[in-house]
Symmetry: C3
Subunit: 209 residues, 3 copies
């Protein structure tokens, strides 16, 4: 997804790493639901690329990023096939997957918000594009698995993207240089997500009704 902002190589590397991590989470969900090989690949693909595709359709930058640079597609398919072949190996690496997933979350969110700013969106729009880039893939994964999406229920996840997107937006308008604001915002998302996992942070929820 790096084309419009020419981010440093490190962002591109994190983006590819996040793609692999997200694909693995989708493929694992597919294996758990007893899907066949193709179902597992489809679930890995949409989890890894769904968020960026939705963002690019809404921002009108089509064909979406992964059809311009097919490396994303190959990585997602490759990771999904690997998960299908040795699912138990990935199941045992839950902690590493959670770590990579958090890296992907921060990277995707920051890329989404920065791209929204290139397209002149306002504050809400830019934050929402960051959240969507980072979470729509997982949301489609859960819908296709016939589950209520985790991000609507779970401990701090999408909310970390809201914080990171808002921080990025503010830094952008304060004139903070691009590499700095990319780094700070991504670290913020990843840090909040890590803290939430370690401390079990949750957003409030109504128990009545």
């Amino acid at each position: 997804m790096p084309d419009p902002i020419a981010p440093p190589h490190i962002v591109y590397a994190l983006d590819l790493l996040g793609t692999v991590a997200f694909a693995a989470s989708g493929a694992l969900a597919g294996v758990r639901k007893r899907m066949d090989l193709l179902g597992v690949i489809v679930l890995g693909l949409v989890t890894a690329t769904g968020g960026g595709v939705v963002r690019d359709v809404l921002l009108h930058d089509t064909p979406p990023f992964c059809f311009k640079n097919e490396l994303y597609l190959y990585l997602a398919v490759g990771a999904s096939v690997l998960v299908f072949l040795v699912p138990r190996h990935f199941e045992r690496q839950q902690r590493a997957l959670l770590l990579l997933d958090a890296l992907g979350l921060g990277t995707f969110a920051v890329i989404g918000t920065s791209k929204a700013l290139v397209f002149n969106l306002g504050f809400m729009g830019s934050v929402i594009m960051g959240v969507m880039t980072a979470t729509c893939g997982g949301l489609i994964r859960d819908v296709l698995s016939n589950e209520i999406p985790l991000i609507l229920q779970r401990e701090i996840y999408a909310s970390a993207c809201v914080a990171g997107g808002a921080a990025y937006y503010l830094m952008h308008h304060l004139g903070v240089p691009s590499p700095v604001r990319l780094t700070v915002a991504a670290v913020l998302v990843i840090g909040i997500r890590f803290a939430a996992i370690l401390k079990g942070w949750q957003l409030p929820r109504r128990e009545e009704l």
Copy 2:
């Protein structure tokens, strides 16, 4: 969503009112499903704006309306937070919410059909754009809540939009002036929806099979 048709202020006011009503219905569904604060906001947002976003993507008028005029986003988020804070208050106002929902239904349907005509769609396309504008938000709400969408099952709801869209299309081609056809078609949708609620009208359904 008013940009391409320059509708009278009354349509814009109804559009905003409908946005609030749809957001409240989405947020209430989120509270009932025990979603956290962010899940409730997401559900409110997609219910309020999902129909117009889908329409704008299909008509190729991107970024969609609510990213051009963020007032829609602020209203939807505000209404969702309010529902999260005092859900029982809203539960008790079911009748008022049903009324506002019907106003939103008629307004969204007519805006959708009129925008489709600006983009030179035919009869079926224009009617479908009206129906989608009015119902896709609720449809996404139900999919994310892991329910079969209400509009596919329930008493006269989307069908009222079909009637209103068809009437708008005919009036447009008969040369009826814009304010008149907007009003007549919206009143038609709202009237059918009210009558359906009061009289318990239903569309036929097969019980065999």
Copy 3:
């Protein structure tokens, strides 16, 4: 969907036939889920046109095909109403429907891949566009029916489109003339699908985990 490739009349005829078959499968699912008349029509419509609409949005060819040539919409609505009126008649014709569905599958897949090549997509992108054109309608049908999509689980279905799309892509780059590669690829998809039905072919699936 034939505009950008000017395919022979036979492709257009198969495309319309596939539209009717897909609409019937969607409408039957709606009747089984006890949806009302409008719900049955909506399910028929999205099953028949959803794949092509998603493809056109991603390829940025909007409004999507069926809003440019409303014949697709009329056929889908007509078939859905017919299914609603005499559902038992269609239930009894399962074998004929399966046959028509396979014809539609091959036609939609080949049209999707060939259109992707017109838009200069690469190998993965072209294959994915073929698969999406042929299967996204059924996928949306299943999501709206609150089921895990069949194509993620079932015997060889989407995988036949992968084979056909890959074959089409290769023939395109080998300079095989358009009518020949259209025919060969479509026959490949339909043949694989038929063989899978007759022989009960399945893709592998993990039983552990």
